[in-house]
């Protein structure tokens, strides 16, 4: 998937949400998209999913794309299995309903995210974390070449964040190109191969996650000082806040 000099402006807006954006996402790579609120991350994902159309430039994509928006309305209480089976839609003829083979793929996808025992549970009865896992299972069942996720770890407890990180890793390791936006730096560091930083609709530094996530780069990205602080296990990582005084 490649973004070539893409600009995008929302209807009725004065300014471009995205300006001269170029980025290449390779198969088998998980890339985290970082940036403050309103920096254009969701716009990038929408364009990649084909949901938005570039005002100028182009988005090239070699293969089908699965897209998970940040939130989804749930008007009806489908069972997890029914919901994940919707992921099979691109593989079905127009008037077909999922076959037992499709449902088996949906079940397998649920097992892969650790929700195998809950396939008959209603999606409206799930916790936020479980719902996110089921949505990722739907993307797995879709068997797309590229998977785009808008803030997949948003508002989840650490255990669910870890499970979702593993699911993203598994997707990438199985050869899919994964692009996800996040504000969770530890999450990005844990499961992304690469990070791309965005500021005001423009692309900043792109590179291997461990090398890109420096205090200087993050400070510039979010406009607040970052520092390294030693914390009790398991809170090791990069945390926002003023630089800590050296410990004695």
């Amino acid at each position: 998937m490649e973004f070539v000099d893409v600009s995008y402006r929302y209807k009725g807006e004065q300014e471009d949400a995205l300006l001269g954006f170029s980025l290449k996402l390779l198969p088998g790579c998980a890339m985290a998209l970082l940036g403050s609120n309103g920096s254009g991350k969701s716009t990038v994902l929408g364009l990649g999913a084909g949901w938005l159309h570039a005002s100028s430039g182009k988005v090239e994509c070699a293969g089908p794309v699965a897209f998970l928006p940040q939130t989804e309305r749930l008007a009806f209480s489908f069972t997890c299995l029914e919901y994940v089976s919707f992921g099979r839609a691109p593989h079905l003829p127009y008037l077909a309903v999922p076959s037992s083979a499709d449902r088996d793929k949906a079940r397998t996808a649920l097992v892969e995210v650790g929700m195998g025992t809950k396939s008959n549970r209603r999606i409206t009865a799930l916790s936020g974390g479980e719902l996110q896992l089921v949505r990722i299972a739907r993307a797995l069942a879709q068997e797309a070449a590229y998977v785009l996720l808008d803030e997949p770890s948003d508002m989840l407890d650490p255990a669910h964040v870890a499970t979702i990180g593993q699911a993203i890793r598994r997707l990438a390791d199985s050869g899919a190109g994964v692009l996800f936006s996040t504000h969770d730096l530890a999450f990005a560091l844990a499961c992304a191969d690469e990070t791309a930083m965005m500021r005001s609709g423009r692309l900043g530094a792109v590179g291997p996650a461990a090398a890109t996530l420096t205090c200087e780069a993050l400070g510039e990205l979010y406009g607040t000082p970052f520092g390294l602080r030693s914390l009790p296990v398991p809170l090791h990582g990069i945390v926002a806040g003023p630089p800590a005084r050296p410990r004695i």
């Binding site: 929408g46 999913a49 084909g50 949901w51 089908p64 794309v65 699965a66 897209f67 998970l68 928006p69 989804e72 309305r73 008007a75 009806f76 209480s77 489908f78 069972t79 299995l81 029914e82 919707f86 992921g87 839609a89 691109p90 127009y94 008037l95 077909a96 309903v97 999922p98 037992s100 449902r103 088996d104 079940r107 397998t108 097992v111 195998g116 025992t117 809950k118 396939s119 008959n120 549970r121 209603r122 409206t124 009865a125 879709q142």
Partner: protein
């Protein structure tokens, strides 16, 4: 290593749909024998061969009526279920698109100006489709909100517009002749159903029902977020328009035949979800079957219970609301926490 769940729910839904279909068949047969000839109540099936008049009553009066009731209920139920998916809102039926009110206006106009049953059908059907097109046309010109919100808003406006026109016609109607006719038609009923009106309405209604049942899974898919549906290969705008058109054509046909029968399209899908134990795409065929069952029973009661015929719309609303309330209250747990 991958232990899969047993496949109970899918088989269960099929079983329940088959059960509902069986109940529907029995109810339709019973409805043919139910009425006020030769005596109020059920007729002895043997009299069909002994009594030529009984045979004629069943063939020429009750059979078209029962078929009309089947189609009416099935079309309203299936379209209600489909529209609820398309609008991602379980409180919607074809009335929200102005279809019923458009049909009412066409019928009232014919009753006021005069015209045969086919003219009335044509006018009611034509104005119902016009109302739908107005709703969709207005929605596409609204410059804010999502597609669903815009359709609901414009549908409500179109609906109110035609209600006002109907009120205007009623105001100007002859209080001794056309006003009671219009009022009676608006309450809905199958008393005017003959093989002639059925031959026009049935093919449209039947095609609509078959199409909605065939499209059920794609329709359920549209209840997901628009961006999600699009990434699953759907074309939400086009598919939504197709389903709206198909559903509205069926509702327009049966409404033109039988008048405004309220409540069925809104409530039957909820009954279907309760009966099938799920919210998935089987809701559409389930609603078609349960809608048909419900209307067949209500129509039989409307014509057979009292010496004068009750308007069908009144019976469906009375029985429907009471039954629905009983179901809601009787169901101890309504959110399944598995």
């Amino acid at each position: 290593m991958t232990r899969l769940q047993p496949r109970k729910p899918f088989d269960g839904v099929r079983g329940r749909i088959a059960l509902a279909a069986l109940a529907l068949t029995l109810a339709a047969l019973a409805a043919l024998l139910f009425g006020r000839y030769p005596t109020p109540g059920f007729m002895d099936p043997r009299s069909l061969s002994n009594d030529p008049l009984a045979f004629r009553v069943v063939l020429l009066v009750r059979l078209p009526r029962v078929i009309g009731a089947l189609l009416l209920g099935a079309a309203l139920g299936a379209s209600g279920a489909a529209l609820q998916f398309v609008f991602a809102n379980p409180l919607v039926d074809a009335g929200f698109l102005g279809v019923s009110q458009g049909a009412s206006f066409g019928a009232a106009l014919t009753l006021l100006l005069g015209g045969g049953s086919l003219v009335l059908f044509g006018a009611a059907f034509g104005f119902a489709i016009l109302a739908l097109l107005m709703s969709i046309g207005m929605a596409s010109r609204i410059r804010f909100g999502g597609a669903v919100l815009r359709l609901l808003l414009s549908g409500m406006a179109v609906s109110s517009f035609f209600s006002a026109l109907v009120a205007l016609l009623k105001y100007g109607a002859d209080p001794l002749k056309s006003l009671p006719e219009i009022t009676y038609w608006l309450m809905g009923g199958l008393s005017g159903t003959s093989w002639k009106t059925l031959s026009v309405a049935a093919p449209i209604a039947l095609l609509s029902i078959i199409a909605l049942v065939s499209l059920r899974w794609r329709t359920a898919l549209l209840s997901l977020d628009e961006a999600t549906a699009a990434s699953l290969g759907a074309r939400p705008r086009l598919e939504r328009a197709v389903i709206l058109g198909v559903a509205a054509a069926g509702v327009a046909a049966v409404t033109a035949m039988a008048g405004v029968v309220a409540w069925v399209g809104l409530i039957v899908p909820h009954l279907a979800r309760l009966a099938l134990g799920g919210d998935g795409s089987p809701t559409v065929p389930g609603s078609a079957i349960l809608g048909a069952l419900f209307v067949v029973v209500c129509d039989a009661l409307s014509r057979g219970l009292f010496s004068g015929e009750l308007p069908l719309g009144v019976t469906t609303s009375l029985i429907g609301t009471v039954a629905f309330f009983a179901l809601l209250v009787g169901r101890r747990v309504n959110v399944e926490r598995g």
